[in-house]
Each structure stands twice: as structure tokens, then as C-alpha cells.
Amino acid sequence: MAPHPPHLVYADNPVQNEPKSECGWESLRWAYERMRANLDEADYDVIVILSPHWQTYVGTHFLGLPNFKSKSVDPIFPNLFRFDYDIDIDVELSRMIHDEAQADGMVVKMMENPDFRVDYGTIVSCHLTRPQWDKPVVCISSNRANAYYSVEVMQEMAAQLGRATSRAIEKSGKRALLLASNSLSHRHFITEPEIPEDMSAEHITSHHLYLWDMKLIEMMKQGKTKEIFDIMPEFTEQAVSESDGGGFSWILSALDFPTYPAIVHGYGTIIGTGNAVVEWPAEAAANAEVALRGD
């Protein structure tokens, strides 16, 4: 789980696009540092990300050209985030996931317009996870079935997409890093302090959102992801969660609902929203499987 607050990457400031937000949000940046250190040990070929800021209402879409290069300016916080990106796409794997999902009856589409601007959620999460930008990426849009139907319908679609994703990855023989680019609770403040980094103004919007976030984090730590899936409708509604975009449900399904403990690298708030950087390590997954088989 790799949330995408632009506040963690002040893009335009240093030319090399390294994070440089002074006196703000360190705990989340440290969380990303810890996750990066773990990922440096892992060997993977491709990043597969689902971002809630590429919002599609007509099916699920996949970036379908080998490279996208442009500038991303955050539409909400343009004062904080302006980023020159150059992102390589693993079109082969994108298409494989697309085809798997399509074969399963899902409405899907490849996005092949070279002028398309990659959404800022994808860019922030990818940059914080892999600032070298040396791994190809598969970018999946967020279908807004939650808005059109219900959280339950959204979950069913996200779960179906998750299964298609894991099948396609298996068939490809590639080692993939999955990123669900979303926060947990997602109620913003509606004012910004004069200095955006004024940490005396930064905290969770309300205690009940914090309690929801902690409950979810505890469940992830205990490997109770099937249980998370079951309470997702309540959580999404009551914590106004960004899980409404489907990324959280998708990643749990693609990982086949981990029962092993997740590593919670850190938790912090960004203009009142709750964000956690959480890792489900492949090694733990392998061990869990071994234990299950009993050999």
C-alpha cells in the first residue's frame, strides 16, 4: 500500500525531483525509506499500480504505449507538486492483464493516446517507491463502480481484476511489485495553513477516523485481510476512505488475501487524511504457502 500525497514530493523545488519538504511529514517519508530498503533486497521486474486518480467510468483501462513523458501538475495542490516524469510501461504485461480480465467478462480498454497525461497518484506512489524510475510500470485505472453502484459492486469488480492480475503475472513469469495507491481515511481539512508544512496544524481530521485507521492497520498486521474485505463497505463509508477507488480491494485479491502479517512501515496524516505505508513481503507469502502445504 503506497499512498500518494503530493506533499511528500515537492517536485519543482530541486531539479532532481527529490523530496525536500522541510519540517513536514517526515514519518511518512521515513516509512517509504524503510519500504524502499526492503525492496532493494527484493528482485522484481515490474511495478503494477492501481491509482484512484485515473478515474474511469466506462470500464477499467490500462496504459498501452511503451513510454509517457510529460509534466504532472497536481490539480488540487499545484503550489506543492509539479513533476517532470518519464515513465516506461510494460505494455506486454498490461495487455496480458487486460486480456485476462476481458476473458473473464470485464469491461476493459487499452489507453493508446500518446498525449495522455499520467495521473499524479501514480506518479507520486511510483516516485516514492522507486525514485530511480528504472522499472517498467503497469498502470491500471480506477473504475468508479462505487459511485455508480455500491462498495460491494466495486469490491467484486476489484477482486475480479485482482484475480486477473495475478493470473497474468503468473503466466508472464515476471516478478511484480503491486502498489495500491491510496490513503486509508480520507477526510481533508478544507483550509491549508499559510505555510503548508506547518506541522502544528497537521493531524487526523477526527478521532473516529484515526480509530478506523488503527483498526485496519491492526488487522493487516494480524493477516486478517479477508476480514478487511468483509468490512470494506463500512470502512469506506465511515472513514470516507480512498479505498472507494478499488485499489485496496484489488491488491488484497491479487495477493489472494494474505494471512501472514503485513509490515506497517509507518502511518501519518496529510491535511487530515490517514496514510499508511504497508508491505506484504513476497518471502512471507512463500513461507506461508510452505506452511500450508506442510513440507
Binding site: 490539480p75 499545484p78 509539479r82 497525461r117 459511485a147 478544507i190 483550509t191
Partner: protein, 461 residues
């Protein structure tokens, strides 16, 4: 010359009429309607087009596009296969900055944005491309806000009107919006397009029927019902009619013409033209609150407002014209009774609006009001009112980071000099004998609320 809004319109947001009008008869008719609307804007003598865009949602207040020449190529998140939408247009930066300032004066959080590559939204790009292909007009674009409700949207429209009047220009106002916004969730052939459901279609037609009669404010007051009936909660709820009616003075005094109504992948797209007229379509069906200043604190939960003060400052890039001025509203002082903040910081000085003797929160006047509802004079307690008045001054000053000790100049307004001056002066000296600001005392006819004393204060920090 006072500026005015000479024409209003609603237009659809999806790119089909712009990119592939030939593929579906309805999309072609919408395209023609855009062309007709463009001609009508030219005929109206408008110099600037203002766009309120529902496809530009914001979180922190409202944003105004202030890049003098936005230029980029937009691609729709869903309909990218229809083609790219390059844009290159001129922003009316004077009007935009005036609007931003008016927003702040009316208590709204507001930001001008001037960044190369800022993503102009689909609704605005479609409108600009079809209504202004040759950059004949300048453009001003404002975002919507995901949390804003009626009062805030209405105050935004009044600030817009302030700026239009100040500009001296003739202006056309466009709302880029869908009627029903439920699209098909599957890919369809162009010839299969129709309004998603009969219910959506019936509501759309009802809305258009009212608009055709010029009953804009009636429609505005149905916004919540429209939202619950035919709007998918995408990012923002249905609020453009509040804005459009607000800039037209919240009346039904309009002439309406529906230029087209067609389906866009299931959503309801209409081009409707509204021109001001003397002849009202009739009284409004309801009369909702009419906020002049946004003083609502939507932060219902504890938050950064805890310090008891909110400040709004211009934070735009390459624009420092407002750096040193900030409107200040204290949450511990009585609510303003007009379009003004409690105080404004200018350089090293803090200018306070007139402060009266109402009790914060309850608005009660200690010792009772000086006149009743019919204007009949009542006995009142000038000592109690003076104490409250000075306490209120103190609250505003402290909220803004100043204090009573830093008051430099006071203008005193009394409604009855003969009766009240001696007592007033006695209480006054209890607070200011050591501080010694300069002072001027005036007798006046009346104050806006039934109080007997008001202070106008300038302080330092």
C-alpha cells in the same frame, strides 16, 4: 461604467461534440448548438467568458485559473480514443484577480493558480474550444469544490458579480455541466447512444422546461433533489445552478432557450441560453437563505481552526500583489453583518472593521438594545455596551496576533453624545488610560444593529 452579465448558458462537458460530431446525430446537434451559442455571445457584446466548471473539483476553497495563456494538450480519462484536445487561450487575469480579492472579502478561501502545465479540466477545454476557437474572448475559469454547499457556492457567485461589476465589462457566464450524469458503464457504438434511463430523461426534460421559462432560481432551489434523483456522486454534488442563479441575482427574471438536448454516452448534455429580462417568469417558489459572506466553518471537527483564527492569503505563483494583505475572521467575536472580514492585515498594521457591542455567539446586547423592532427607543446600558465593545475589539486583535496594548488609533461612534459620552469615557479610560491611542469621537444617527456604541480601530503587531 459598471460591468454586467449579459448572457448565461449551460453546456455539456464530454468531448464528443468537439471531437466526433459526425459520428452521432445528437452529438452533431450539440456541436451546432455550441456554434449558435458562440454567435449569441458575440452578438451580446461580451468581452469575457466566465466558466464555472463542475469537472474541476477542488478541496481547499475555490481555485481560479490565472495563467495568462494556458496551453497544453488534454486527453480525457475515459474517452482518450476519440482524440486529443489541444488548448491555447487567453485568461482575463484582471477579472480573475479581482474575483479572487472579492472572494477573500466575502470570507471565502480562494487561490489563483498560475503554473505552466496546470491541467485545465475537460469541461473547460470543451467550452473554450467550441465557444472561443479564435480567442476572440478572454476567459476566466473557476473550480468547483467537493465540500462546498449552497451558501458557499452562492457567496462565490456574488464575489464573481462584484468582480464583473468592478471590471466594467460585459461578460457571459457558462456552467460546464451535465444534467443527469450517469453514463453507460460499457462501451457502446455511437448510434446506440441514448439517455441512460427514462427517469433521467424525464428529470432532464423537467429541468429544461423550467429553464426554458427562465425559472433559474426555482431550478437552483431544486439542486439537492436533482442531485439525489439523477446525479451519480462522482466527485462533486450538483451545485452549478446555485452559481448560475447567484450571478443572475437569484431571480426567475430570465428568458430561456434550449438550443439542444442530447445523450452523451448516456449522460444528459444540453446547451441552454439564458438572457436577463425585465419580465419575471413569476415569483420564486421558495425563498432560501441569502448569504452575503461565507462565515460557515465546515470544519465541524477539531482542526486548525482551534487557534480561533482563520486567515486567507493569496498564494499564487508569480503573483505577490496580495502577499501583505490577509483577511482575518475571529471565531470569538460577533459575526459580521455584511461583506467584510473582522480585520485585514496590511503591511505592519491591522485594520479592524467597526466593532459593536453584541455578545459573540448569542448576538445579545448587554443591558438590552437601544431600540425595538419598530424603531421605538428603549432604555439601554451604555457602560455594559462599552465593556462588551472593547472586549470584542480585544478578541479580534488577539485572534489576529495583536493585542489591546497595540491599538494606535480609535474612532468612536455614539448614537447619543449627550446621554452617553461621560459614562462611555469613564469605561474607556479603564482600558486605555495607559495605552493612549489617538481617538476621535463622533455622534451619529444610528448603527446597523440596535447598539449604541461602535469602535473603529487600527492596531500594530
Amino acid at each position: 461604467m459598471t460591468g454586467e452579465i449579459v448572457l448565461s448558458a449551460i453546456v455539456p462537458v464530454h468531448p464528443h461534440p468537439l471531437l466526433v460530431p459526425e459520428k452521432n446525430e445528437g452529438w452533431g446537434l450539440l456541436r451546432q448548438a455550441f456554434t449558435t451559442l458562440r454567435q449569441r455571445i458575440i452578438d451580446s457584446g461580451a468581452e469575457t467568458i466566465i466558466i464555472y466548471s463542475t469537472t474541476w473539483p477542488n478541496i481547499i476553497g475555490h481555485q481560479l485559473l490565472a495563467d495568462p495563456n494556458p496551453k497544453w494538450t488534454f486527453v480525457d480519462a475515459d474517452f482518450h480514443d476519440l482524440g486529443s484536445l489541444p488548448y491555447d487561450f487567453q485568461v482575463d487575469t484582471n477579472l480573475t484577480h479581482a474575483w479572487h480579492n472579492a472572494n477573500e472579502r466575502r470570507g471565502l478561501s480562494s487561490r489563483t493558480v498560475n503554473y505552466h502545465g496546470f491541467p485545465v479540466d475537460v469541461g473547460s477545454v470543451v467550452s473554450v474550444s467550441l465557444l472561443n476557437p479564435d480567442n476572440r474572448f478572454k476567459v476566466a475559469i473557476v473550480s468547483s469544490n467537493i465540500y462546498a454547499n449552497r451558501s458557499e457556492t452562492l457567496v462565490l457567485s456574488k464575489a464573481c458579480l462584484d468582480a464583473v461589476k468592478e471590471s466594467g465589462k460585459k461578460v457571459a457566464v457558462i456552467c460546464a455541466m451535465s444534467l443527469s450524469n450517469r453514463m453507460f458503464t460499457e462501451f457502446i457504438e455511437p448510434n446506440e447512444d441514448r439517455i441512460h434511463s427514462l427517469k433521467d430523461d424525464e428529470w432532464n426534460r423537467k429541468i429544461l422546461e423550467l429553464l426554458e421559462k427562465g425559472r433559474l432560481e426555482d431550478i437552483a432551489q431544486l439542486s439537492r433533489q436533482i442531485h439525489s434523483q439523477i446525479r451519480v456522486q462522482k466527485v462533486v454534488s450538483f451545485k452549478p445552478m446555485w452559481f448560475l442563479s447567484g450571478v443572475n441575482g437569484q431571480t426567475n427574471n430570465l428568458k430561456g432557450e434550449v438550443l439542444a438536448y442530447e445523450a452523451l454516452h448516456g449522460a444528459g448534455g444540453a446547451v441552454v441560453l439564458l438572457t436577463p429580462t425585465e419580465n419575471s417568469a413569476g415569483d420564486k417558489e421558495y425563498d432560501e437563505d441569502d448569504a452575503e459572506v461565507f462565515s460557515g466553518d465546515r470544519s465541524v471537527l477539531e482542526g486548525i481552526e482551534d487557534r480561533g483564527v482563520t486567515t486567507t492569503t493569496a498564494t499564487s505563483n508569480e503573483d505577490d500583489s496580495n502577499k501583505d494583505t490577509a483577511a482575518i475572521n475571529s471565531q470569538s467575536a460577533p459575526k459580521p453583518v455584511g461583506a467584510y472580514p473582522h480585520a485585514r492585515k496590511v503591511g505592519d498594521l491591522l485594520y479592524l472593521s467597526g466593532v459593536g457591542s453584541r455578545t459573540p455567539d448569542t448576538d445579545e446586547i448587554p443591558g438590552g438594545p437601544c431600540r425595538d423592532e419598530n424603531g421605538i427607543s428603549l432604555d439601554y446600558d451604555i457602560a455594559a455596551q462599552t465593556h462588551m465593545c472593547i472586549e470584542n475589539v480585544k478578541r479580534v486583535l488577539e485572534s489576529a496576533g495583536s493585542s489591546l496594548e497595540k491599538v494606535q488609533d480609535i474612532t468612536v461612534f455614539l448614537i447619543d453624545m449627550d446621554r452617553d459620552f461621560a459614562t462611555f469615557n469613564q469605561v474607556y479610560s479603564e482600558y486605555f488610560v495607559d495605552i493612549k491611542p489617538t481617538r476621535t469621537t463622533l455622534a451619529i444617527n444610528a448603527l446597523p444593529t440596535p447598539i449604541a456604541v461602535e469602535l473603529k480601530v487600527i492596531a500594530s503587531f
